[in-house]
Amino acid sequence: MPNLPSTPPAAADPERFGYADDATTSVAAADRWRALGRDLTRLSVFTIRRLLALLLTVLIGVYLTILIANMGGRVDELRLVQIRSTVADQVRADPSFLDLSSAARNDLIRQRVELEVQRLHLDRPFLARSLDYLDRAMRLDLGRAEQMHSDRGSRQVSRIILERLPATLILFGIANLLVFFSSVLIALRLSRGYGSALDRLVVALAPSSAAPAWFYGIFLILIFAFLIPLFPAGGMVRVPPPDNVLFYGISLLWHLILPVAAMFLASIFMSIYSWRTFFLIHASEDYVDMARAKGLPERLIERRYILRPTLSPIVTSFALMLIGLWGGAIILEQIFNWPGLGTLLFQAIGHRDTPVIIGSVVIFAYLLAITVFVLDILYAILDPRVRLAGPGDGA
């Protein structure tokens, strides 16, 4: 995530508390270097701790997923089917078995399946097997799809999913960053003019965020794709896709407008409202009043006295927003026929392709964990207390 334009660099520590104009002697510079070293050590310790914690979290999450999915013995059935098909393919493809009669060949297949079952410990109790499956899922070895295949023709679930990931990342990355930055900046402006007509309008419009993005998507499609055909109703690029990179980009942007607009509409007012309230509360702190009394310019007060101390909660809420939006992705993509993870999941439901569904859940869990991790690190960089406290009380 790029830094907020008004954020001073994290390494320039003394500036943070507004006494940067103090003398910067060589002693102070050496101190600063030592402090930076200490900070980096603590930061890396913190990073490793968080990484381990999150890995453990994903581990438990994926294990729970496997338990949920396996309650009806589905995963086992699935793997048996896979083994059978793999073995049958191998036997059929092997020229040395070509002259066998079909009965003998079936016998061979059966024997090999049994061997494979033993090799994979499928005859062992569920507990041990679930750990085996967990191991595979964690290494993103998600097995083979039953019905679906990637656009390149691969049946590997991980390939199918990784192929769809960029589309989801483009759409949700752009929309989330847009919503986040515009809402924080607009909220900052609004908190200055509290009670103005615009302010009251935003407060009145905030309940509109009760509806999710896909809901607005339906209306946007209805209006801007059917009633006034300005934008495409769905898809990611023109059909057939343009060869030229530039035209491809333009076409992509063209198709991005409606889904991004839907996400923007769905969350912008609520987002502005909550940030505005947040900034208003912080603008009434004593130290802000003190700064005002000193006669500091309003922009400086905003940057150093309001934005800087509230930066870590801002980042936290950004994390929570991202987590919330991963879920909404599924339906928005489906509405706009966007070829991302959500549409994949939807198609997998249609095909009842269990490996793909379980694989998607695992990938979603990973995405969430990565989101949480990145934001944890940012949090540590932004909030000196996390670094200075050292081990003992984490986030």
């Binding site: 009806g72 407060v203 009760a210 896909w214 809901f215 569904i357």
Partner: protein
């Protein structure tokens, strides 16, 4: 003074709260009305079956949409007749009857479909019926003869040979001005008009006059063509057909081989508008699903919100009070739970087990117990843990759970109520989301399932906007109502916000 009453009084000062409350009450009224007017079992039976809807048109728009666009669209008309009431003669045990099914038609647009239902009951040998169609200008179109075994449905609009004969699909061809007349309207229309003028309806005369006045055809043809062309693309590209207004008659000449046999006939002239909500692709009146969707949505939203909020609160309070390893465990489990993606898991459960709405509700609650809210409640409860009144409670010997349930939780309950109210619509939308993914409840009619049907049938592409807009409007009202109420409650119950 009672703090709750005080809160309510403050609430009344916010217009958005009043509006939100009115919306919520309206929805509750709708829910009660639908539950009372159409019992649960019957609603399910109707929605899933097709028998109840056989006389409804396919994809008919709601009545108000025709008013908005100013089009003259027909509603469905059913003309019924019976062999008992018909006159006929009996010769050698064989009864010959003529059942005329007459109706007046004066709309500018064609009906959407024509169907004849023939039912023979009693008696041994199956009766035989010959159908013919009489137009206002005196033409007779034979529609063939049929042996009626029990119940027969003659879908005239799907009769391909008839379509070949007429040059157009039956519901257009049978009601259109004959093509020779349509080609030269000045010559063809006036005599037909003279016939039609005998028809009874006042608006029909207007329609006729509009179509027949010498100056009108130039302007009239494109308009009528546009209307019927969009509504009935099967009408063919050559000249756009025009409705011949007047009295039509379907004559059924039946031979009943057994005097016991009773033959009843129904002619359904399916319209293009139906009721206040319109119909879907399976002829079902959307009103049933829209009405019944209300109690389902409210119940799901409310139960899910209650289930997640209160369990989360109790778990958070217990963690704060007992501390130690219990607290640590709850914290770690919450972190795991936040990582679990709710919607994909719901999708998985729906695909692997069942899409029943109550199972989904159970999963939502189970995953919601250790939700992100725990962190927030914990932060709120931690300072209260050491409050003097808790000390006092311990001094008089209150048990752990008594302190958690009677002292800790009630303290932060007011802060929670706004969150709770704003949570309800998010669960209503969650249910709609699941239904939109095709994981809606298999039996219950819900708003999400209407949207799912509409999407599966490409409603927007085919111009059936009402199909999407109606459930969407109800969802929006639910969302807005609860959100507005919740926002106002937030300002009342969170004093820190009140000054802002």
């Amino acid at each position: 003074m009672n703090p709750w009453l005080d809160g309510l009084r403050q609430l009344a000062r916010y217009p958005s709260a009043i509006a939100g409350l009115a919306l919520v009450l309206l929805l509750i009224f709708m829910a009660l009305y639908s539950v009372v007017s159409l019992p649960y079992g019957e609603a399910l039976e109707r929605w899933r079956g097709s028998e109840h809807w056989r006389l409804h048109p396919v994809n008919a728009r709601p009545i108000w949409s025709a008013w908005l666009t100013g089009e003259d669209l027909p509603a469905t008309r059913v003309v019924a007749g019976d062999s008992d009431a018909a006159d006929g003669e009996t010769r050698g045990g064989v009864r010959q009857v003529r059942i005329p099914l007459a109706f007046d038609y004066g709309h500018r647009t064609f009906p959407s479909e024509l169907k004849v239902f023939l039912t023979a009951s009693g008696g041994g040998r199956e009766p035989f019926a010959r159908l013919s169609w009489r137009t206002p200008d005196g033409r007779t179109v034979p529609l063939g003869g049929y042996r009626i075994a029990g119940e027969e449905r003659l879908a005239l609009s799907q009769d391909w040979t008839l379509e070949q004969r007429l040059g157009r699909v039956a519901h257009v061809g049978l009601l259109a001005v004959p093509s020779a007349a349509a080609a030269t309207p000045a010559a063809g229309v006036p005599p037909n008009g003279a016939d039609a003028r005998s028809g009874g309806w006042p608006w029909e005369r207007v329609a006729h006059w509009w179509g027949a006045s010498g100056a009108a055809p130039d302007q009239a043809t494109p308009v009528a063509g546009a209307a019927s062309g969009r509504a009935a693309p099967e009408a063919g590209p050559e000249t756009a057909p025009q409705v011949l207004p007047g009295r039509y008659e379907l004559v059924i000449d039946a031979i009943l081989f057994d005097p016991e046999t009773r033959l009843s006939a129904e002619l359904a002239v399916y319209g293009r508008v139906h009721g206040w909500a319109g119909t879907d692709h399976r002829r079902r009146d959307l009103m049933t699903a829209l009405l019944w969707g209300t109690p389902v949505a409210l119940a799901f939203g409310l139960l899910a919100a209650v289930g997640t909020t209160f369990t989360t609160l109790i778990v958070a309070a217990a963690g704060v009070w007992f501390g130690g390893w219990i607290d640590a465990l709850i914290q770690r489990l919450t972190e795991v739970n936040i990582i679990l993606p709710l919607l994909p898991i719901l999708v998985m459960v729906g695909t692997l087990y069942s899409t029943g709405i109550w199972i989904m509700l159970g999963v939502v609650i189970a995953l919601g117990i250790l939700g992100a809210g725990i962190k927030m409640y914990r932060a709120m409860l931690l300072p209260i843990r050491h409050a003097p009144y808790i000390e006092a409670a311990r001094a008089y010997g209150a048990g752990d759970w008594r302190i958690v349930l009677r002292y800790l939780i009630p303290r932060i309950l007011p802060v929670l109520i706004p969150t709770f109210v704003t949570l309800i619509p998010s669960f209503v939308f969650l249910e709609a989301s699941l239904a939109l993914l095709g994981l809606g409840d298999p039996v219950l009619p819900t708003w999400g399932k209407i949207l799912n049907d509409a999407q599966a049938q490409s409603a927007l592409y085919n111009g059936h906007y009402y199909w999407v807009l109606e459930p969407a409007a109800l969802l929006m009202l639910t969302g807005l109502g609860f959100a507005m109420l919740g926002f106002a409650l937030d300002r009342v119950f969170n004093p820190r916000l009140r000054s802002l």
